[in-house]
Symmetry: C2
Subunit: 148 residues, 2 copies
DNA sequence: AGCCATTATATGTCGCGCAATAAATTATCG
DNA sequence: CGATAATTTATTGCGCGACATATAATGGCT
């Protein structure tokens, strides 16, 4: 009499990752909606806050995304007035994405968002840090395998 | 002189989850493409393999997905001949999703897929199990917070 | 000049969430 | 009991995101 049958996904790590990722999206949505941002757009802005004037490819590198994914996304935050896109004069293939004052100003909200998210998880910081270390290790391991 | 600057996402658990989830998708894609399935479609089939004849809402409950997400998805695997959809005669609001022989037959591939995925991760089973236990705990914790 | 690699863009498919709608069932009240 | 209201369930439409593929433009190299 040990256990209720849980689900077909009991031993599927990928499913738990999938479900947690969706859950994160649901946590972020009400926090980002007032700013008119989606989660992915927010990630791009975070990247630019720490390093302005990046090319599309550089942003995609740190996010693990294709330029075909980023192009329309960046155009949307450009339309919102948060960034501008300019061809690199030294290499006209590249497009440099730069923050506007309005885009920079949004950074002020980030620490508040961050604390709201953490409190929405319901776990201690120690546990979260430990978990993150393991996930990060997995991520690097997958990337490493991918190159074989 | 400790560390190269990694990324703006060093302390963002959500980002690592996001990135690992994308990485999982890239692992599954070449395995599922020959079967003509996407990852989400595969999850629905897994659910049906362990419990046939579920309603759309039941499937959505175990996957954490909206019925509006599932309806078109299930229609696609119906078009592929893997499932059939029938109204529940006892409650005509419900749609019962049932496997066809062809859908059941696909289960034969699942163990192979599973082992391919695990070997694509490059980590020991012990570590993976420990990691999964923590992620699952987080998932349940988020869901619990969500109800407050 | 010609070839090849790199970079970004355009297009089409699928997945995801939300809002609004429709249909069926259940609850409530006269 | 019967009419009406509220709830449940699935569907539809829309916007965004992620990926693959194809295309265009630029730069580097011989």
């Amino acid at each position: 009499m040990n256990q209720i049958k849980e689900s077909p996904f009991d031993d599927m790590l990928c499913f738990d990752v999938y479900a947690v990722n969706l859950a994160f999206g649901r946590i972020y949505k009400p926090l980002l909606d007032p700013l008119g941002l989606t989660y992915s757009q927010y990630l791009v802005l975070m990247s630019l806050w720490t390093q302005d004037d990046q090319t599309v490819g550089q942003i995609g590198g740190s996010l693990g995304l294709d330029s075909s994914t980023l192009t329309p996304l960046i155009k949307r935050i450009e339309a919102a007035g948060l960034v501008v896109r300019n061809r690199d004069p030294l290499d006209e293939r590249r497009v440099i994405v730069s923050l506007t004052d309005q885009g920079r100003a949004l950074q002020a909200h980030s620490s508040h968002i961050r604390s709201c998210v953490v409190s929405g998880l319901g776990m201690s910081l120690e546990e979260l840090q430990q978990l993150q270390a393991m996930i990060r290790k997995l991520r690097k391991s997958i990337v490493a395998q991918d190159r074989d």
